[in-house]
């Protein structure tokens, strides 16, 4: 008799034997009030209220049982992918950064994360990647001049340290304007190479390259702050100014920065 042909009765018997090993066989059930309290605690304290964090669920990761490391790695990859997607989508719903100049400026902001925390020593400052997002109509940028740069809130030179998981990490090497300090770390979403040739597109960063970055307030940042700390934590206060006001260090852009900021 093949294993496939075993009578159900034999399987039931084996199952009963295995149940004899159940380490939770003597575990008393939770009292009804304990279950209610547990559920109440979950639903009352959930800060995301079914709209926030990505959660893993069956089918999210196709991994062999018992392979915890692989499960965890896949889960992290899923979370990263999801966060990038979600950041773009949710922010697109919340706000749009106004056009610099011109027509059909569907400039969106890709949110990086936490609030600006200034204190002693170097800080990590998230920036939104100002610029046209994939699928959105292009901006029509005016020629960059000193006046355009003077409208920005901060301006720095920063070297790209790393690009990981769609996030760029830069270190400030020179400050032209604003509260940023040399040694601060900036994080900003990597631009999409597919839109790099589009007028007003977000910057794409290369590791080891120094960029001149100016920033503008993200649209609605004041309202965000008023909306509460939890929400404000998701939304950077600053976005990288696009349309030629930020870019690789050197040449005409360096000259403009020095003229505008008295470098």
């Amino acid at each position: 008799m093949s294993p496939d042909e075993r009578p159900e009765e034999e399987d039931r018997e084996l199952r009963e034997h295995l149940r004899g090993l159940d380490p939770a066989a003597d575990l008393p059930p939770l009292a009804r009030e304990d279950v209610a309290a547990l559920l109440a605690r979950i639903t009352v304290t959930d800060p995301a209220v079914r709209d926030g964090e990505h959660d893993v669920a069956p089918g999210d990761a196709d991994v062999a049982p018992g392979d915890a490391d692989v499960v965890a790695a896949d889960e992290l990859a899923d979370r990263r992918t999801w966060r990038e997607t979600r950041s773009s989508g949710s922010t697109r719903r919340r706000r749009a950064l106004g056009a610099v100049v011109g027509l059909a400026a569907a400039t969106a902001v890709v949110v990086a994360g936490v609030s600006l925390g200034r204190g002693t020593g170097a800080s990590t400052v998230p920036l939104a990647a100002g610029g046209v997002q994939p699928g959105a109509p292009a901006s029509l940028c005016a020629e960059v001049d000193v006046q355009a740069l003077e409208a920005t809130t901060s301006a720095v030179a920063a070297e790209t340290l790393a690009v990981e998981d769609g996030q760029v990490r830069l270190e400030v090497t020179e400050v032209f304007r604003g509260d940023l300090q040399v040694g601060d770390t900036l994080t900003v979403p990597q631009g999409d190479p597919m839109t790099a040739v589009v007028d007003g597109a977000s910057l794409t960063y290369d590791v080891g390259t120094t960029y001149l970055l100016s920033t503008v307030p993200t649209a609605g940042s004041s309202a965000d702050q008023a909306a509460g700390a939890a929400d404000a934590e998701e939304q950077p206060d600053l976005a990288v100014a696009n349309c030629g006001r930020s870019g690789p260090d050197g040449g005409e852009l360096r000259d403009l920065y020095e003229q505008a900021f008295g470098g």
Binding site: P3, D4, R6, P7, E9, E10, D11, R12, E13, L14, R15, E16, H17, L18, R19, G20, L21, D22, P23, A24, L27, P29, L30, V35, A36, L38, L39, R41, I42, T43, D46, A48, V49, R50, D51, G52, E53, D55, V56, A57, P58, G59, D60, A61, D62, A64, P65, G66, D67, A68, D69, V71, A72, E75
Partner: protein, 165 residues
């Protein structure tokens, strides 16, 4: 959601220490709460167990990262059933524990889900995010391998679940 609490709690109690089980239970319920719309209405328990499985894997990874060696051993209990004092068990139970421990982890976990969580192949498939057909085949093979192990260990037909033959 209350209906999944006890099954998930037991699933976790069978596989990790009490403190981790409580933490992971809370995290699992939080996930269910956030993803209520994704919970299959006809099989919420297997789906919840699947969430708990991934949350437990995450907790295991965190425990390793923090080098909580003592806790790590218990957190990783999914690799096998707890070792019992032979004096407290019958001979067949000891043999069964040993046989189960010698199976591949995937096979052993399938059998635990089948016996301890009282899941059929379809429910296990939901919990593991796999196809029911694949799980049914693997479950059949896992039972056969367990019987082979028991036979190799010298267990009688009763212990192999063959007393009914």
């Amino acid at each position: 959601m209350a209906e999944v609490v006890e099954p998930v709690r037991r699933y976790l109690a069978r596989r990790t220490d009490q403190a981790t089980a409580e933490d992971v239970l809370s995290e699992t319920l939080l996930v269910l709460w956030r993803r209520l719309e994704d919970v299959p209405p006809h099989e919420p328990v297997p789906w919840a167990v699947g969430v708990a499985r991934l949350q437990l894997a995450n907790a295991t990874r965190s425990a390793r990262r923090q080098e909580r060696v003592a806790a790590k051993e218990t957190v990783h209990a999914v690799a096998g059933p707890p070792v019992r004092d032979p004096a407290e068990t019958t001979t067949d139970k000891v043999l069964l524990e040993h046989a189960l421990a010698q199976l591949r982890p995937g096979d052993a976990e399938l059998l635990r889900l089948w016996a301890w969580e009282d899941m059929d192949a379809k429910a296990i498939a939901t919990a593991q995010g796999a196809s029911p057909g694949t799980v049914a085949v693997r479950l059949t093979r896992a039972r056969a391998r367990l019987r082979q192990q028991l036979e190799a260990l010298g267990a009688g037909s009763d212990a192999r679940g063959e007393g009914a033959r």
